[in-house]
Symmetry: C2
Subunit: 710 residues, 2 copies
Amino acid sequence: MILSALLTSVGINLALSLLYFALYSILRKQPGNVEVYAPRSVAEGKSRQDGGSDFNLERLLPSANWLKRAWQPSEDELLSKSGLDAVVFMRIFIFSMRVFAFASVIGIFVLLPVNYMGNQLEFDFIGLQNSTLESFTISNVNDGSNRLWIHFCAVYVFTVFVCCLLYFEYSYISSKRLAFFYSSKPEPQQFTILVRGVPVPSGTSVGHNVESFFTEHYPSTYLSHCVVHRTSKLKTLINDADKLYKKLVRLKSSQGEERFKRAGFMGLTGRRVDLVDHYERKLEDAEVNVRTEQSSIAVKEVRAAFVSFKTRLGAAIASSIRQGVNPTEWVTEPAPHPQDVYWPFFSASFTKRWICSILVFGAFIILTILFLVPVLIVQGLTHLDQLEFYFPFLKSILRITFVSRIVTGYLPSLILQGFLYFVPPIMIMLSSIQGYIAMSQIEKSACIKVLFFTIWNIYFANVLSGSALYRANILLEPKEIPALLAVAVPGQATFFIAYVVTSGWTGTCSELIQLKRLLLSSIRGIFGRNSRDDFEVPSIPYHSEIPGILFFSLLGATYFFLAPLILPFLVVFYCLAYIIYRNQLLNVYSPAFETGGKFWPIVHGSTIFSLVLMHVVAIGIFGLKELPLASSLMIPLPILTLIFNNYCLRRFLPAFKDYSAESLIRKDKDDENDPTISTFFAELENAYRDPALDIQYSRTDERINTPLLA
Amino acid sequence: MILSALLTSVGINLALSLLYFALYSILRKQPGNVEVYAPRSVAEGKSRQDGGSDFNLERLLPSANWLKRAWQPSEDELLSKSGLDAVVFMRIFIFSMRVFAFASVIGIFVLLPVNYMGNQLEFDFIGLQNSTLESFTISNVNDGSNRLWIHFCAVYVFTVFVCCLLYFEYSYISSKRLAFFYSSKPEPQQFTILVRGVPVPSGTSVGHNVESFFTEHYPSTYLSHCVVHRTSKLKTLINDADKLYKKLVRLKSSQGEERFKRAGFMGLTGRRVDLVDHYERKLEDAEVNVRTEQSSIAVKEVRAAFVSFKTRLGAAIASSIRQGVNPTEWVTEPAPHPQDVYWPFFSASFTKRWICSILVFGAFIILTILFLVPVLIVQGLTHLDQLEFYFPFLKSILRITFVSRIVTGYLPSLILQGFLYFVPPIMIMLSSIQGYIAMSQIEKSACIKVLFFTIWNIYFANVLSGSALYRANILLEPKEIPALLAVAVPGQATFFIAYVVTSGWTGTCSELIQLKRLLLSSIRGIFGRNSRDDFEVPSIPYHSEIPGILFFSLLGATYFFLAPLILPFLVVFYCLAYIIYRNQLLNVYSPAFETGGKFWPIVHGSTIFSLVLMHVVAIGIFGLKELPLASSLMIPLPILTLIFNNYCLRRFLPAFKDYSAESLIRKDKDDENDPTISTFFAELENAYRDPALDIQYSRTDERINTPLLA
């Protein structure tokens, strides 16, 4: 790619970003959009939803005061408003900004001039245009030149800097996590475990067995239990009844013809019936069904139960020590928060869950490999000649300079984005089949899956296919990886710069606009539906956001010494993303769950992977550039990095898995002085009861006068 | 290698084995050898050590009644005499016998005729002698022949058979382990944990901190603690004093000149001194030193302690839940049995232990790789032509048929054995540096290390170097491994048959003779030393025995369908080893520790590895033999085997790591009815006290009248 194509792409995206900024600052001032741009304050009742329709000019002018409001709150305020996960999420940006600001200084002021001063490329291709971006990359440094030692030192310095930052960040977030736990109020999940695989000898019930097992083994700490029921049928029935009820409300409020309909074929023939009567009878039937189902639910016990304890330590003991003699029975794990419980594919059986996890693992691998097909097609677009060869009728269009620039510079990453749009939901589905019992666990697992997927399908597939060296079996020849990467990675520098500006800049700015929700809200406004019923504050999808951000770090790390031109674009991206996500977390997203910062280990692991990948590429590059000594001296670096990682895992990771006995006991002691604790324990006994079981479903008696699901 | 060379080797080893058998049956009847061949009954006082010197002819005739006595005891008797580890050790032989008896039936009656009926080799080398062993291997089956499907089916059937056996064996040993735990008496290690990294603020002592931490956090179950001291200097002093004491005893008992010596140069000049006086004074000094050191030991506290609890569950809770907020402090683990505690390189510091384990890991890898040098030299011996090329002066000797047969058939494996002799002690040393705190843990870890070492250095190095295809970087090209192995593995069949008869048959039979101990005992007898003082019942070195046995299983599995001729030799080996080790466990070795069968997971893992290696070789072989469909259909087999392994690990492995809460509580409840439990708890408080601290060292007062270390 030549410089002008890149500039086109940067230009388009810069314009788009500014446009989005302006648009956002106008749209958010429209009172009708308050539900889209400040749902949190709506939910808290601070903002009037339909108030203040008085028009003034200021509402149509873009302004920047939202930036200030997003910037001002301190980390503690963010913590209190959005939880620790949001703080950790913002720490990713701060960490990345620090890393790449440092890298930019080295890259732009040291490496870039060195690269530019070389003349290897002129040497290789006589008469090459000076305007290609290649002359800013390491490819332009002369083979065997001692200037490559500058790159060598840069890699070492960068690695040491990143490792130090990683260490302090891990330590900082650990301490935040602990402080967050100490300052937390008693919460049901701290006192509760989920036990699965309860053995049920014939003639006894699950509840009875759970009760006797835990009263016998933990007489001093056992509090109560709550057996899990198969309620999917009941939930369907309740939903059906709800729909009927809503229909009825609409019919009653509407007047005239709508109420009547012919009973015959397609509502055109037969006698006229009163639809209100018709639906009322149907609703009555539905309610009878619900009540029958509710009363028969007792027999639909699943061999699993939530067991609550009187102390946090009691719950931690029961969840961390194997309970049953047989490892497939009495399988315990910490319970999630009652609102976080989510198990569309819940199973109490050990073997079933094991089979599911094996199947999901297989499906994930197959999906990741099959996704190469669209990636390969997209890569074809950057090679215009190939495209012209396969689709000759496009030749005339593609010859237009502007079109060719758009096609090569902008379209490939846009199409990739389109495909990638479907990946996070698929991974969420896979993770939920895997046997996780909470939305937070599913998102965390999906986050790791999406990250692997992104690295493999965006980074490796692009790098290796783009350089026409693509071979799916590269992983089977690990010895050749450094050399292969050394050839392929620098060649894709411009593609990835374009990717940063497209996906990074514009993608992040479009986050501001919330296009989907804006459209939904407009449609609702047009059709006059009462939107308050369906109003819901969204939560931030960590499983799709975090891998995206980490992927940019991977790009930054591997291109840091190859093509330092990418670094300023990255720094701009992180600054943009920092302020935008801060704004969104404060105004739009409310936390759906709280993991206490459990996403950080993923960030740490991904950064270590980026560093090691950078070292592997460096080993290859120095070999290729005829500086074998530098190549050999690079080998200890990945080993040392992995040893450092091993230390961090042992030093910090345990704190992210569970809390220590010391902390738990300290919190338990605090409770003793808490006057509200007895109320809490009374509530705890019913905290994990399925709400579907408790609904007093009797719409027909009260008719439409009571609110839904009283 | 031709058939006659193999027969020479088999002949030599068969003769040696029979000789050993005969020798053993004679030697064991000699009353002077009872210490060597029945140390257990000597230790139990059943057998008179020096009695019955009445000579009769029967003592010089070989007999076989010891075989009957070794065969008769049931598994339960073995369990009560030698513990669960010995039973598990014997199960390895039973398991292997079953596997290879089954494999022999298939191999000899199905595969061998099929191989022999082929004529691929005649095709390849016209005029080849029929007597080469190659015609019994898969190499002789015609390329692309449909008969190869018989081999294909054999691999599938064998895998299914082994997996079923593995499952039942794992299940059987799990249940044995549990029954063993239930029937055990209260033991100190069940109630005790080791805690390291005790934080000691200035002005406090370790003991005080441990006491206050555990009384605060576990008020109901905490019993007592015992701080670890740095006693290495004290132990050296005690040893020195002991040596002086023994010298003094000898001097006093000897008469005349020996007592006096000149004080000057080399004992030749100067005035005569009474050595008894001299040593008595020295001993007094030494005792003063010991006492000074004992009194100053209090300040030599290490930041670690053994903490005992009133219940097994209490100890299990404290060891399985992270205690300290900081994961590097209050690090707990289950304590070993007091007699099992062994820590030449003990360290209480988290960081130091981490560094040690990293260093040991590096050292292990380097050692494993460097060991290739002797292996390569040994391999040179099987290629006589190479040897003649490098050492031309040997040519005339090597031309003698018998010499060449010995050199190619027998010597290589013998030399390998010599080198391998030093491996287990080195691995023990590495494992002890790694931070394990018990001899049993060190032996288990060393066992895994030796196993890896053996597989890499005997199997792979031989296979790959022997076929002149040796490349150290094979692991860097995993895709080529099957094809490479397919070429290389069958070529080494005869070498490994020779290895089985040399190392397997003769090696195991020489175990009977206990040459080293026999020589030591004879030397002692000749020099008239009182051997009773130094008498010690040996323990079986699992870390060197188990990898050897597992290595034979690996050979059997990979050669099962390639060269079934190896199978009968293996079955003979297992039968021999079964009866010999049974005899040794009953008469010679007494258990030094009891892991409760924790060695079995190593056996399981190694068997799974053997199966997968067999599949990889099969994939390569079928590809090489121009039957690509069979090669592809073989690919699911290793995947299914690994999935099976995953299931077994989840189903059975937890039971080998720790006991469940259910079992622990059941045992704790049993204790309540045990009248001796209060005595036990009283003893428990001092069970982990270092004996060096308690020695009332006052030899000089009592002079030589009291036994050593009263």
